[in-house]
Structure formats: structure tokens, C-alpha cells
Symmetry: C2
Subunit: 305 residues, 2 copies
């Protein structure tokens, strides 16, 4: 297979831009790196809006609600609207509510942050765990009275949880071990999250104890990129034509695989977590983007023509 084209000329940018009605944009690594907006990207977003393109920000970060993301965009001076933002926290809440029809009288036990709780609240799903200080405590001895059965629990949902500990893992594990009807959901399976030029253990790593402890017995449903649940949830809400869409991201395993899995074309940007060698060899990844570009900001050149 020929390697994907690396776009460098205004003509190439224009041809691709014109062929797209809906831009699915990963955030960290594409729009900004932590607190710094990628050069040219504000201009490119304005170009998209001026041309009537639909913009959807698609992120696996499960610690923020749409509202929190909106605040982040505001602080960075980026025009964005809550209804354009699709994070794995919101996607998980939508999945539980619309796809699972999660019962109103059951509760979901959360390993996660306030952003995830807020999105569950927004769709009317009862929850416990999460940021509750009662569960964010160290259990000094293996006192199993901390893990009583609870028939009100209908699901365990794991995202990034800075309060991960044995009490929470023990509770979540016990609910899943005891009742096959308790749903096992992960917001996403990102190994690490990148920040300030380095990485730290991500959501996928924090749910790994449950996945590993239950292996062979329970398989989790993973919502975020690259899983199709996320795309289904987006399409259910935004009704776009996948053939006229483009997924833009910096991560082969999440963003690019996500597009490929739904026959949406993909644009890989450099400058994030992927090195050119992973695309152009000597041993390229099996996950091949449709197009590659140095930066989404490079499309800003189209504003001058």
C-alpha cells in the first residue's frame, strides 16, 4: 500500500477543505497543546465557520463536561459552542441514557471526576462514588466491610479518577463480580494523557485493575475513541454524512483508528503524540491515516487566497 499523502501546498489544502462538510476535531495536540493554542488554528476555525462547515470537537478526556470545555475554549480565545463539544464523559452519559436505557431507579458507581458526574446529572442518571470524599479515603487494612453488596447499583463507569484507591476499586470490582447484570463501562482506554510535554497514566490505565481482575469473566464496553459507540453517539446527535466528514487528530490509536472504523476520512497532524516514522517507516503502523499534514494551522494559508 502506498503511504498516505503528506499535504504541503495550498492547492492540496483547498481540495481537501472543499471536500469536507463536517470537521471532527480532536482537541489536545490539534487545537492546542495544554495552555497554548496551535499557531494558525484560530484562523482555520474561522475559515470553517465562514464556509458553513460543521465543527465537532471530539475528545476522550472524561474529566470535563461540555460546559467545562466551553470555559477552556473561552479562556484560550477560541470560538466554540457547547453543542459542538463531544467528550467521552458526555458520550458515556448519552450512551447510558439512550442506548442502555439505564433504569431511573438504579445508580451508576463512578470512578471519575466532577465533569463526568455533571454529564450524568444532565441526562438524569443517578450516581454514587465519583468525587464523594467518603470513597476517596485510604483503607488502612483489608477490611472487607468496605465492600457491601448494593442492589441499587446498575453499572460501574470508569474514567480518569485522581481519587483512585483500593476502596473504590474494591467496591467497583465487587459489584461487577457479584452481578452479571451490572454494566461495566469505560469512558475510554487511553494509556496516558499528554500534558506539558510529558505523559501521565490515563483513564485506560486507571481502569486496568478492574479489567485485569475480571479478565475472562467480564468485558468492559469502551465508549471513547476509537470505539464505534462514540461515533454512533455523535451521528445520532449531529446527523452528518460520514462521506463528507474528516476526523483530524494526532493519535493513530485513538483518532485515526476512530475515523477508519466508521469509514470517515482521517487527517493526521504532527506535533502531537505521533512521530513521522510511525507513518512513513521504516516500520509503519498498520493504522494508516488518509492524509497527513504538519499542523491543522497550515490550512490558514487558505485565508490569504
Amino acid at each position: 500500500m502506498a503511504p498516505p499523502p503528506f499535504l504541503t501546498s495550498p492547492e492540496q489544502y483547498k481540495e481537501l477543505f472543499d471536500s469536507v462538510d463536517t470537521f471532527l476535531l480532536d482537541c489536545d495536540g490539534v487545537i492546542y497543546h495544554g495552555p497554548v493554542v496551535v499557531e494558525g488554528v484560530k484562523t482555520v476555525l474561522q475559515l470553517m465557520r465562514d464556509a458553513g462547515k460543521k465543527i465537532i470537537f471530539v475528545t476522550n478526556n472524561a474529566t470535563k463536561s461540555r460546559k467545562m470545555y466551553k470555559t477552556t475554549f473561552d479562556k484560550l480565545g477560541i470560538e466554540a459552542y457547547e453543542e459542538e463539544i463531544f467528550g467521552s464523559a458526555y458520550a458515556s452519559a448519552v450512551y447510558m441514557s439512550r442506548i442502555l436505557n439505564f433504569p431511573k431507579d438504579k445508580r451508576v458507581y463512578v470512578l471519575g471526576e466532577k465533569g463526568l458526574e455533571d454529564e450524568l446529572d444532565a441526562v438524569g442518571i443517578q450516581r454514587c462514588g465519583g468525587t464523594d470524599p467518603e470513597d476517596r479515603v485510604f483503607i488502612p487494612s483489608m477490611d472487607f466491610s468496605h465492600f457491601p453488596a448494593d442492589p441499587t447499583i446498575g453499572a460501574v463507569l470508569c474514567g480518569f479518577d485522581s481519587g483512585i484507591n483500593y476502596k473504590k476499586l474494591g467496591k467497583a470490582y465487587s459489584y461487577l463480580r457479584d452481578d452479571p447484570n451490572v454494566h461495566f463501562l469505560l469512558t475510554n482506554q487511553d494509556r496516558v494523557f499528554p500534558t506539558s510535554g510529558t505523559t501521565y497514566p490515563g483513564s485506560g490505565s486507571l481502569s486496568a485493575p478492574l479489567v485485569f481482575a475480571l479478565q475472562g469473566k467480564r468485558e468492559p464496553t469502551v465508549i471513547g475513541k476509537p470505539n464505534k459507540h462514540m461515533m454512533d453517539a455523535i451521528i445520532a446527535e449531529h446527523h452528518f454524512d460520514p462521506k463528507r466528514a474528516l476526523m483530524v487528530g494526532d493519535n493513530l490509536l485513538t483518532d485515526i483508528a476512530f475515523g477508519l472504523g466508521s469509514d470517515v476520512r482521517t487527517l493526521l497532524v504532527m506535533g502531537g503524540v505521533t512521530h513521522k516514522d510511525q507513518v512513513y517507516g521504516p516500520e509503519p503502523s498498520d493504522i494508516r491515516p488518509t492524509f497527513v499534514v504538519e499542523s491543522l494551522g497550515d490550512f490558514a494559508v487558505l485565508a490569504k487566497n
Copy 2:
């Protein structure tokens, strides 16, 4: 392949007993179930001692030192000696000291309990983390100042840690991410630990975040059963003939695989974590014990002859 013989008669017990000089005995599930000694086992241990057999208690539990195990045996009224006890905490300390020749001026960052710390102290290895209350605290926000570089760290060692949290995982991950010379060790990879008729997430599950976050970059060295490091450490200390040894255990994945990996015959006991179906079908495990018996206590019948 024929299924392994299920021993039921005194003649079968005697033939096997006489062919063994060294009994390697798993503890939980073989000798006792939590606080209850398995019926007949005290008599069988006495038979072994009277016949001059060597006894080695081989356990993956990394929360206890040999001294703590001795106390456990004392409380249960079981004759045992510290030098007969080989836990994965002690095996890890021995591995670091003898095999790695871990430098005296370096420290190991511990995810584990006091028993593991005690065994490291016993072989003169400097340590930090572990039960230190400074690290067993919840970090309320993602403040990465909690994970500074530390050139004194020469290894990360993970066992069962009831104080697992993001601060400890973040520190351990950062040390391993930044320096390929920092050793990455796990006491064992047990998914769960069985207790009081149920299971909870085990050492292997608690180290899963680090293993997952570092996948493709760092592979851990796993010390405990079924890994050969554990057998090498035991043989280095006890110098027995593997051909005249028998590994007795209730777990196919740890105990039985452990024996098979070192050409030591194995005896699987029922009543622990393994069901007969896993040995005798309809879809038996690939891990096949040499012999199967209902209980190690059944050998007590030999005392009457």
C-alpha cells in the same frame, strides 16, 4: 493427552509420597482457607517431617514477611520455620539483592505493604514509598509537582498495596518513563486474591495501571509464581533436586504452571480456586497438573497404615 490421574487410594498416596523429597506447598487453598486449617493437613505435615522430607511454603502473597507468616502459622497451630517460608516479598528482595546486585546507594520505590518493606530491609536495600503516609494521600487536583524526578530511585517494585492511589502511580510511572535504567519489578501478577469465600483485586491488578501505561516501552520483571525467578531463588537457597520435588497448589495459572515451568511435578488440590471441569473437561485448561487430589489432607490416611 490422557487426563492427569485423580488420586483416591492409600496406595496412590503412598507411591507419590515416597517419590518426593521436597514438598513445595502453596498456602492459601492448600494448607488453610483464610483462618481455617484444611482437615488432615496438620497430620500430613507431621508425616512429612517424620519421614525427613523437606518442606517449603511457597506463596505469592507479598504483604507478609517470613516473620509475619511464621506468626500466622503459629496462630493456626501449624509447625513451620521462618527458613521454610518463601513468599514473593522475600523472593523479590532476594532477587534484587543477589541477581540484580541492586546498588547500595540507590532506593527502590515501593508500592506495597509493611511485609515487603521488612524483607527489603532484611537484605539491606534502601526504599521509599510503601507505607509512608506522605504518599498515601489523595491528590485533589492534577498537580504534577507531586511527581518530581529523583535520581536516587533505581527501581520500582509493585506488590499488593492497599494504599494504591494516583500519587503513587504517578510517581512510579514517572520514574520508569524517564529512566530506562530504573528496574521495573512486580512481586507477582495474581489477578485476585481469594479470601472468606470470595475474591478481591490482587497484586497483579494493582500493578496493571503501570504495566498498561508503559506497554510497548517497559516490560516488568515478575518474580512470583508461575515465574522462574521464584524457583531460581528457592533453589539457590534450598538446593533441592527438582526431580524429587512436588509442587502442591490449588491454582493452575500460578502453582501448577510454576512447577511445569521448572520440570517439577505438580499436585493440584480441589477446594481452592480451581474447578474439576478445568482439568477434566469438557474444555480442559492447557495447564495440566501431573496429579490431582481432592485435598492434601487426604494423605493423612497414610498415618494409619
